[in-house]
Amino acid sequence: MAIFKPNRRSLLKGAGAGIAALGTPYIFTKGAWAQDFCNDPTNGKIVLGFNVPQTGSYAEEGLEQLKGYELAVKHINGEGDGGLLKTLKPVALKGNGVLGRKVEYVTGDTQTNTDAARDGARRMIERDKAIMVTGSVTSGEAIAQQSLCQEMGVIYMSGLTHSNDTTGKDKRRYGFRHFFNAYQSGVAIAPFLAKEYGTDRRAYHLTADYTWGWTQEESIKNATEALGWETVATVRTPLGLGDYSQYLTPVLNSGADVLILNHYGHDMVNSLPQAVQFGLRERQANGKNFEIVVPMFSELMAVGAGEAVKGIIGTSNWQWSLDDEGTKAFTKSYGEAYGEPPSQSAHTGYVQTILYADAVERAGTFYPPEVIKALEGFEFDGMGNGHTVYRDSDHQCFKEVLVVRGNENPSSRFDVLNVIGKTTREDVTYEASIFGGELGPYEPNKC
């Protein structure tokens, strides 16, 4: 087997040299990428990258978000009825594209997986020359893409991400979030819990065992304890569990009279109906009616949970049944395009795209540091959330947070949530420093 002749060796050497010779030209072409900034669209197409889960556990919300993005591109390019371009104040976009040129887009599937999300974002940036990347349904995806985009020097507008970390300890100069966060949910929901259920309650938390679940548990726990509630226990449940009975049984004898479900998506769609089937809501504990609270809600989850959602209190970023001008305009154009009312996932995606395009228009350039400066501290109105400000110190949007309740008498398949109150922007504003983190530099890397 061990044949070793000089002529073989020379062959091997020759092969090695040949390989090196073949390889070298490409090492030098790397420099050809260098430009003033990554994917400068001055001489090329303007490409936006929409990277959402189209398969995996959050596919449904991802596909909704994608519809929102596609609608936003239509409106930016002056097709359709213009949507929120008519209600956004102040607005720089003219409905003729961005800086007078039409916008194109590419899509990707994050598979509800951070690695696939980063692969997708890299494809958009390296191959498709995307000038901006957006989209996410989990905070893991959002934080992973945000840090990648910071390294590549491309702006990332996150989609649906509710963890405090996205604009807290993992915030980035190139990442922006329009969606609200767990801390704001806690602050927003507390007064309504006090009003509905009193200030003398004993709460039992079931929490999805990952970063988002923990930040939400912490935020809700702090907010309810400030009301005077007592926290009986906080129990972590594995993500993606189908049967919660082993976690629900201990609740019955724990002495608690409120169950707080820090679950999202499929977890909540499973856990809430099971809790209701356990008869928790018919129970009396400590002389009071037993209550269930789901701090973070979405229409898609409410539809999934069916009957069980009736009367349950939670918070939401946006709801199509609001009656301000922005919401009406968006619900109308989305309904005309897709035949159903939009979800908050579609809304946040749509708004993020419009806000980015508008910031470019105001900055007069695609150069990321200028666009970032145009977004930082930007105050606007008419996007369905009332008066909103993009805070410069952590890139978090501050706006009203909706407190919603499962509709007892839904008039249609989509009429599942009632807005029972709004917590004002001032009330949900917090100091950026409480979560730590660092934004990083403005100067773009050349990708």
């Binding site: 090492i27 398969t55 692969d119 494809r123 390296e126 990083g440």
Partner: protein, 380 residues
Amino acid sequence: MFSLSRKDLVALVVFAAVVLTMPIWLAPLGASYPGLMQKFAIYAIFAIGFNILFGLTGYLSFGHAAFIGVGSYTTVWSFKLLTMDIVPAMIFAVITTGVFALVIGYFSLRRTGIYFSILTLAFAQMCYSLAYSVLTPITNGETGLLLARDDPRYLDAMFGAQANIAGLPQPTFLGSSVTGYTGFYLCAAILIVAFYVSQKIFASPFGMALRGIKSNQTRMNYTGFNTKPYMLAAFVISGMFAGLAGALLSITDPLAGAERMKWTESGNVVLMTILGGVGTLFGPVIGAWLIKYFENIFSAINTNMLNNFFSFLPDGLQNVVVTVLSKFVGEGWHLTLGLMFVLIVVFLPGGLVEGFHRLMARLKRRKGTPDGVTSVQPAE
């Protein structure tokens, strides 16, 4: 000890040429950007390593993703604590994964067949849930382990390297950054070395012993051959390849997430190997490239692109074609992959490599050289 048979040498040269010219021949396929080509090289290393276990011994491990994950986490921790240089990171990753594989292999290899697969799957799922929630201080849970500017990096601090960098530090190889095309050529070089190592193992007495275990372990035992250490060695080597792949994932993109350890990833490498051809040298590599291509390129095609592509057709026909095809691209890419997998397993049980050999045999027959070879030999 570095020599190869003539056949293997030709194979290695061809392989090296194919890998290094990727930026050229992938361009018409829309896949010649550094991010994806790095993945091609890395997952090929992973599949080659997996094939040393599955292809040679026939032991189907359903938990190889755990090793990728361990390799990634070790690498990022090495970046955070020691230095941004990739050499120590890779060495640590391979050693740590080797130790992990030793422990998991020691227990799992006490059983064979389906029980072995289930045991490895169980270990991998344990690693996944540990990484996802229990060990969050080490793994940063769902968010994934990220670099930070204020990480200690004791070695770098000692030598004053990376001191005056504005943003996040980047992994370096002897001082030069390894992003983009440099990163690809680094991964490609390591892939070629990995391919060479796998050739040596296939051709060695050790590889022969592993094949003996595959064809009949009981007979091997009866001839007085202790198969245990051979199995364990194969398992550990295979795990170390996966660890190296995990390290490269974190080097080209400094982040380690728990999803890398999920069972679907373990399943993916099994698919890659079977798709390409189990027990062949080229098979796993081809399988890995095919799956990564589908995952990244097919999933990104949307109806807009299809409409542009088929715009030459008359309007009605274009709509029909686009409606039908759109079910197979974008969110439907799993469907295409599944269909292809079923077709290959049913008609080409030896994977794409077998298909290639059949094609070659047919061409040879047509040329009229009846040399008596009728049975198909798998490439080895």
